[in-house]
């Protein structure tokens, strides 16, 4: 097939690069929601630790 004229080819090229960008951004979005969850859990656990530390003679749970 002969080469597509610029205005046609341009759409395909743009489409390809757009797909790449979208995939990358979707990945970033997924990772950021994971990070948010890690953050939340960390806050929870920090809270828990905070509540525990004023009572050092509490029975240590074997970890």
């Amino acid at each position: 097939m002969p080469a597509l004229p610029l205005h046609e080819a341009g759409k395909y090229v743009a489409g390809a690069y757009l797909v790449f960008l979208v995939l990358l951004l979707v990945y970033v979005a997924i990772m950021s929601s994971r990070l948010a969850r890690i953050d939340r859990e960390l806050a929870e656990l920090a809270d828990l630790a905070e509540r525990r530390s004023p009572e050092p003679e509490r029975e240590k749970v074997p970890a």
Binding site: A9, Y12, V13, A16, F20, R34, L45
Partner: protein
């Protein structure tokens, strides 16, 4: 992984990709035969090369895992395959777009590289159900490593077979840096491939860091709440990254 290294690779990846694509659109000449559509190759080929290399890297990690028994290699193998599969999706979609622009159809069986890649991609997609179906963590990791090694050896075999099956039908439609590429295009390709490779490394390290953090969180939670705490959202198949802190 120490964070400064992750940041360094991330920045390097962004810089190289930025420069690479700027070169692709403003510096590299238009291909005489394919015209503007050839620009897709600065995206499609680096993605493909990185994905395939990623699969080989995963096989190497798998070998290391089987030889040492250290779970961190299993985690690296898993993540390498994971990121490479994602790159693979991008390869196939960009390949289809190129096929549509060049041949009018969304898929062409005559393009041996693309077909080989599809088969490899399909194989690595079966990695997830395989892991998912094995309950015992240890065995799951071991069998996954066996699979990764098998699949890694499969990649070159597959390309040879498909290439040979196609040469009689069509000449190679798509020539890369071997023979005939003007130096401007070569340079652009080089930068794009380097940038994509760094992107792959960045994403792998990123994913590993996230896993490590989750693993540490789980351990922390267990330590604070006791044995009956349910670890939040632990994945059934994703291997846990062991940390330096030994179990008390």
């Amino acid at each position: 992984m120490k964070l400064p290294s992750l940041r360094a690779t991330a920045i390097a990846a962004v810089v190289l990709l930025g420069v690479g694509y700027a070169l692709a659109f403003f510096y590299a000449p238009n291909d005489a035969n394919q015209g503007f559509i050839q620009k897709v190759f600065y995206l499609h080929v680096p993605l493909a090369i990185c994905a395939l290399t990623g699969f080989i890297v995963a096989a190497v990690f798998a070998i290391l895992h089987l030889r040492s028994g250290d779970a961190k290699y299993d985690a690296r193998s898993y993540v390498a395959i994971h990121i490479s599969v994602i790159f693979g999706v991008a390869v196939l979609i960009t390949g289809a777009i190129w096929a549509r622009a060049s041949w009018g159809k969304w898929w062409v069986w005559q393009e041996p590289t693309l077909v080989s890649f599809l088969i490899v991609f399909l194989l690595y997609c079966t990695y997830y159900p395989l892991r998912y179906a094995i309950a015992d963590r240890d065995r799951q990791a071991r069998y996954a490593s066996v699979f990764a090694i098998m699949a890694g050896a499969f990649v070159p075999l597959n390309f040879i077979a498909v290439r040979l099956a196609n040469t009689l039908v069509h000449p190679r439609v798509f020539a890369t840096s071997e023979g005939g590429l003007p130096p401007k295009m070569c340079l652009t390709f080089g930068v794009c491939i380097a940038g994509m490779a760094l992107l792959w490394v960045t994403l792998v390290r990123f994913e590993l860091a996230a896993k490590a953090a989750r693993g540490r969180l789980r351990r922390l939670r267990r330590a604070l709440e006791g044995g009956d705490a349910i670890a939040g959202g632990g994945s059934r198949i994703a291997p846990a990254v062991p940390t330096a802190t030994s179990r008390p």
